[in-house]
């Protein structure tokens, strides 16, 4: 089973990289961008086809390593 994990900064945390990207888009003349927040994507392959088990494994992975829950939140998407 394949899965995608998205890790993003909590909304209260300042994201200077996102701000810099936002500024760069503005200076490139890309219209209509009001805000950018940068995050991380992990594409994970799991050796199970059990969705519940996959979800539990990934939650464990996020809590232990993939996200720092002091500043980040995560979302798990099972792909197939």
């Amino acid at each position: 089973m394949k899965a995608r994990v998205l890790v993003t900064l909590k909304s209260a945390v300042l994201d200077p990289q996102g701000k810099a990207i936002e500024g760069a888009l503005r200076s490139l003349g890309v219209p209509g961008v009001s805000s950018v927040r940068q995050g991380k994507v992990f594409d994970v392959e799991l050796d199970t086809s059990d969705a519940a088990k996959a979800e539990a494994t990934l939650k464990d992975a996020c809590e232990k390593l993939l996200a720092n829950t002091v500043i980040e939140t995560y979302r798990i998407e099972l792909v197939d």
Partner: protein, 232 residues
């Protein structure tokens, strides 16, 4: 004083800190590899040096914080043993949960490599007993992710418990959170654990110990540790 300096793949300040410890205590520290599972018998002080452990992959200090040796460091800290994390070592201590909060990208996104002015907030800790309370010292900083961040409750608690040991200050000796070099909350440069035995510090005291290369303001931190351990 028996000290152990941890070495992770990508650490690069272990030599500087080992030299400072040797110079001040007269004893060479043991260098301990991250994959080891135990500290040398009778270790008094564990140092996590600066550098770029695991290339700063994922988040600074995130992977090193889960290295096998960290279980032994956690047990050492729980026993009241002294732990000092400098720069990347501070990031590792935060990632491992030994200290609260996290160090994120500098507010102005630049790597900062220069001397910083710091205020020593208290001198009743094993790390600062050889400084005067409120002393202003110069330590070098060299980091891209030194912007200390924690939630409001944690910050309030750190302040109330007097756990901010080092703070960045302006040339007049006062802090200015709006102008602090890396954006750190409350101008925090270093914090201690509840039991005052674990210190995380972004600037590098180990680089200011030898008159041959300049100021020696960092020396008193290592002398404090030697003194604290002799007394104990």
């Amino acid at each position: 004083m028996k000290s152990a300096v941890l070495v992770f793949p990508g650490s690069n300040r272990e030599g500087d800190v080992a030299r400072a410890l040797h110079m001040v205590s007269g004893v060479k520290p043991a260098m301990v590899w991250h994959a080891d599972t135990a500290l040398p018998q009778g270790t008094d002080l564990v140092v996590l040096p600066g550098g770029f452990s695991y290339g700063d992959y994922l988040r600074c200090g995130a992977i090193a914080a889960r290295a096998p040796i960290m279980e032994a460091v956690r047990a050492h800290a729980a026993r009241g043993g002294l732990v000092l994390g400098i720069c990347n070592g501070f990031q590792i201590l935060c990632e491992s949960g030994l200290l609260p909060g996290v160090l994120v990208r500098n507010a102005r996104l630049r790597f900062i490599c220069r001397e910083a002015l710091l205020k020593v907030e208290r001198n009743d800790t094993p790390f600062t007993r050889r400084y005067a309370r409120g002393a202003i010292v110069r330590y070098p900083v060299a980091h891209g992710e030194g912007n200390y961040t924690a939630d409001a409750t944690t910050l309030k608690r750190l302040e109330e418990e007097g756990r901010v040991l080092f703070r960045y200050v302006m040339p007049d000796g006062h802090r200015d959170d709006a102008q602090v070099l890396n954006g750190a909350a409350n101008s925090i440069a270093g914090i201690v654990s509840e039991k005052l035995n674990v210190l995380g510090l972004m600037p590098h005291p180990e680089n200011h110990v030898d008159p041959l290369v300049g100021p020696t303001d960092g020396r008193a931190l290592f002398e404090s540790l030697v003194g604290a351990l002799e007394k104990a």
